[in-house]
Amino acid sequence: MSRESNKPVAMTLRLYRALANAFPHEFKNVYGDELMQVTEDAIEPIWRQHGVLGLIRLLLDIAIRVPAEHGAELWQDVRYGLRMLRGSKGFTAVALISLGLGIAVATSAFSEMNAVILRRLPGVPQPDQLVALQPAASYPAYQRFRQRSDLFSAAFAYVAPVPFGVWLDGHTERIWGHLVTSSCFSTLGARPVLGRASK
C-alpha cells in the first residue's frame, strides 16, 4: 500500500511536518530535513507493527520534544548571557545598578501615582467629582478658580509634601504632610476622625 493511499499514515505525516516546523530555528536548520526523512522511513513499519497507537505515540514524541527544545535553547541563551556577564564585571555592575535605579524610580513613581490618582480616596464621599490641576497653579490662579462657582462647586489648594515636627509622647517626630487652604475638608466632604476641621 502506498503512503498516499494510506490515509492515517499520510495524515500523521502532515501533522508531524507541521509540528516539526515549530522546532527552534537552529534545531530545524541542522536536523529538520533528517528528522523528516527518518520519520518517513520509520512510519510504515510503526503503522504495521503498532497501528493507530504507534502513530499517536509518534506524534506525542514530537509534541513533547518541541517545547523541550525551546526550553533547552532558552536555557542555553541564559547560560551564555550569564557567562558573558561574569566575563565583564564592570559592565555587569553598571547594568545592575542602572537596572536597580530604574526599577526603584519606576516603583516610587507608581506608588505615588497610585496613592494620589488611581486609588479611591478614603473618607471622600464623591471622589469621582474631584479634579486636580496639572501642572501646579499659582495662588492667584487658584483664587480665580475658587471664584468661578459656575465651574466648580468648591476649590482648595495644597502644597505637598511638607515636613512637620509632631510632638508625641515626649519626643518630636518628623512626618510628611500637606499644607492646605481652609476649604480643604469642606471641598472634599471629609470629616476628621479626631478634633475639628478648619473652616
Partner: protein, 122 residues
C-alpha cells in the same frame, strides 16, 4: 585550551544517551541506522522515536560525546541525504565508564541473588 570534562561527571548516563553511544561503539551510523540498531539489539523493547533520537544526538554533540563523521560508506551503499555520526574520544571514555558502572551493578545483583538463594536453600 579548555580541559575536557571527566567521563565520570556524565554518570549515570540517561538511557537514551547510553543506547546511542552503544550503537556507535563499533561503527559510524546515520539516524535511522541508530534507531534500527537499538530496536534490533533490545528485541523491539526500546524504540528511539525520531524526535527523541535527534534531541539526544544534539545533546551528545553539544556535550562533545559524538560528532558528525566525514567518512562515508562505499558509494553503492551510501545515501547522500543521510548524515553519519561517530563517537568522540570523550564519548568512548564515557561509554566505557558507564559500561563499567553497569557491570559492577550486575555483579552486585548476581551476588545478592546468590546470597538470597543460599539463604532459601538452608
Amino acid at each position: 585550551m579548555k580541559k575536557p570534562p571527566a567521563p565520570e561527571s556524565f554518570l549515570p548516563l540517561k538511557p537514551n544517551w547510553f543506547h546511542v553511544l552503544l550503537s556507535l561503539a563499533d561503527q559510524d551510523q546515520h539516524g535511522y541506522g541508530i534507531m534500527q540498531e537499538v530496536l534490533d539489539r533490545t528485541g523491539g523493547k526500546v524504540r528511539l522515536w525520531p524526535a527523541t533520537l535527534y534531541g539526544t544526538l544534539k545533546r551528545l554533540i553539544d556535550e562533545g560525546l559524538t560528532e558528525e563523521s566525514e567518512e562515508r560508506p562505499a558509494a553503492d551503499l551510501d545515501d547522500a541525504r543521510r548524515r553519519y555520526y561517530r563517537l568522540t574520544r570523550l564519548g568512548r571514555r564515557v561509554l566505557a565508564a558507564e559500561s563499567e558502572r553497569l557491570e559492577d551493578l550486575v555483579r552486585v545483583i548476581h551476588s545478592k541473588r546468590g546470597m538470597a538463594e543460599r539463604k532459601a536453600d538452608s
